[in-house]
């Protein structure tokens, strides 16, 4: 009994701080990957929606990123990047893979949003004299966004959790930090619970805010 008490005392307030810092790194890499990936994804989605050739070729490429497990993409990219002369640290490599992965998902969400608006609605906008970009900005964007916003939130929350896989490259985000502490303290349940709570704390505000926004839109 005494020995296990020593293990338990291995987890201190400092370690909580360590986890908190790691949570910020999870937030940071997720934030960057989701914002940059969404921006790229919206343009890819637009490309998918305008031409069949794009939809076929680009769609096939994006499907690769959607169907190969993220962990394989991370390991492959991190190890092959130096061969083509890219010297990337785990954060950079992880961010790039996570961003591409996000954009592949967002592209299809965005295409869905554009298609949800429909050709007749867009013809109505054009018939009022709006040019292509005004139609996109004032009609397609607001209507399409409302249609696929829940799907986008799902992608964003998914990417936030999937960012845990970047730990395999050695980037000390929330999961990696938890693994380090578990090795030292042997307190897996406690530490994983705390890490889980952190993930929840990061995700919940997003889904809460998203629900509020959807409620406001549906009025």
């Amino acid at each position: 009994m005494e020995s296990s008490a020593t293990y338990f005392s291995g987890f201190s307030l400092n370690d909580l701080w360590f986890l908190g810092e790691a949570a910020l790194r999870t937030l940071w890499i997720s934030f960057l990957a989701i914002s940059i990936g969404s921006l790229i994804g919206i343009f890819l989605g637009l490309a998918l929606s305008v031409s069949r050739i794009f939809s076929f070729t680009l769609g096939a490429i994006l499907d690769i990123f959607r169907s190969v497990p993220l962990i394989i993409q991370l390991v492959l990219f991190f190890n092959f990047a130096p061969i083509i002369g890219l010297r990337l640290n785990p954060f950079e490599a992880g961010l790039i893979v996570l961003t591409v992965y996000t954009s592949a998902y967002v592209a299809n969400v965005a295409r869905g949003g554009i298609e949800a608006v429909g050709i007749p609605m867009r013809q109505a906008a054009r018939s009022l004299g709006m040019n292509y970009w005004q139609d996109l900005r004032y009609v397609v964007w607001p209507i399409g966004l409302r249609a696929v916003f829940p799907a986008w939130v799902g992608v964003a929350l998914g990417v936030m959790k999937d960012s845990a896989l970047v730990s395999i490259l050695g980037y000390v985000e929330l999961l990696k930090a938890s693994q380090i502490l578990m090795t030292r303290t042997q307190e897996a349940i406690l530490i994983l619970s705390i890490a889980g709570a952190f993930y929840f704390a990061l995700s919940y505000p997003i889904s809460y805010y998203a629900t509020r926004l959807e409620q406001r839109w549906s009025k």
Binding site: M121, Q123, A124, A125, R126, S127, L128, G129, P142, K219
Partner: protein, 241 residues
């Protein structure tokens, strides 16, 4: 005002319009009737430049709509179009729906755009719905909203593409009344319609489309009273029943 000569339009190998010649002077109300697939709606889409054409010419207000150097966006500002599906913008209030194009296309100030929008909404009888969202409106009201939205651009002519076809029967009247109001005000209009009574009463002339051609065109009373083409006779006997 609108002058169409030798117009051909195909979708792939399907030829929809086969040599249309049509002149619509300022202030005329022309109704276009005919069975489904006869090319009536396609004609309006070509006039508005929403569909490219294969051959011929469409001149609206001295501008060749399909010429390469033509800025379609500015041409369309002179032509209001109302569709079978009203396509109101669901994220904007009734007032904002109408004010959007004046604001971003005509570059009016926000207050001017709202003023124009309110005026047109009063015009079509939606003055009490300004701050509602389209989802709270009936089909007939949404179609009148679409008419107000087109009118807010102060077009020189209006194109109606089966504006009442998607409406419940009891809502058709209010939309036809609004179109009638515009006709009385002297608006140049082309109405593709299935409402024969309306076409007869409101139009100066009526064109009967058959298989991509104008089979017969005449003053409304003459066309309905003494149809010459046997296709038109057949068509009228079917719709009258």
């Amino acid at each position: 005002m609108i002058s169409i000569s030798n117009l051909y339009k195909s979708y792939g190998s399907l030829e929809v319009l086969k040599g249309i010649d049509l002149n619509i002077p300022k202030g005329e109300v022309l109704s276009v009737i005919g069975s489904s697939g006869s090319g009536k709606s396609t004609l309006l889409y070509c006039i508005n430049g929403l569909e490219p054409i294969q051959k011929g010419q469409i001149i609206v207000d001295d501008i060749d709509v399909h010429a390469k150097e033509t800025n379609l966006n500015s041409v369309r500002q002179n032509m209001g179009m109302v569709f079978q599906q009203w396509n109101s913008f669901p994220h904007l209030t009734v007032l904002e729906n109408v004010a959007l194009a004046p604001k971003i296309v005509s570059k009016l100030s926000k207050s001017d755009a709202l003023e124009v929008a309110e005026k047109q909404l009063l015009h079509v009888g939606l003055g009490d719905k300004l701050s509602q969202y389209p989802s709270a409106l009936s089909g007939g009201q949404q179609q009148r909203l679409a008419i107000a939205r087109a009118l807010a651009m102060e077009p020189k002519c209006m194109l109606f593409d089966e504006a009442t076809s998607a409406l419940d029967p009891e809502l058709v009247g209010e939309v036809l009344d609004t179109i009638r109001l515009l006709a009385d005000e002297g608006m140049t209009m082309i109405c593709v319609t299935h409402e024969m009574g309306f076409a007869r009463e409101v139009s100066d002339r009526v064109a009967f489309f058959h298989e991509g051609k104008i089979e017969e065109i005449n003053q409304a009373e003459k066309l309905f009273g003494s149809p010459k083409s046997k296709y038109l006779q057949k068509f009228l006997s079917k719709v009258k029943t």
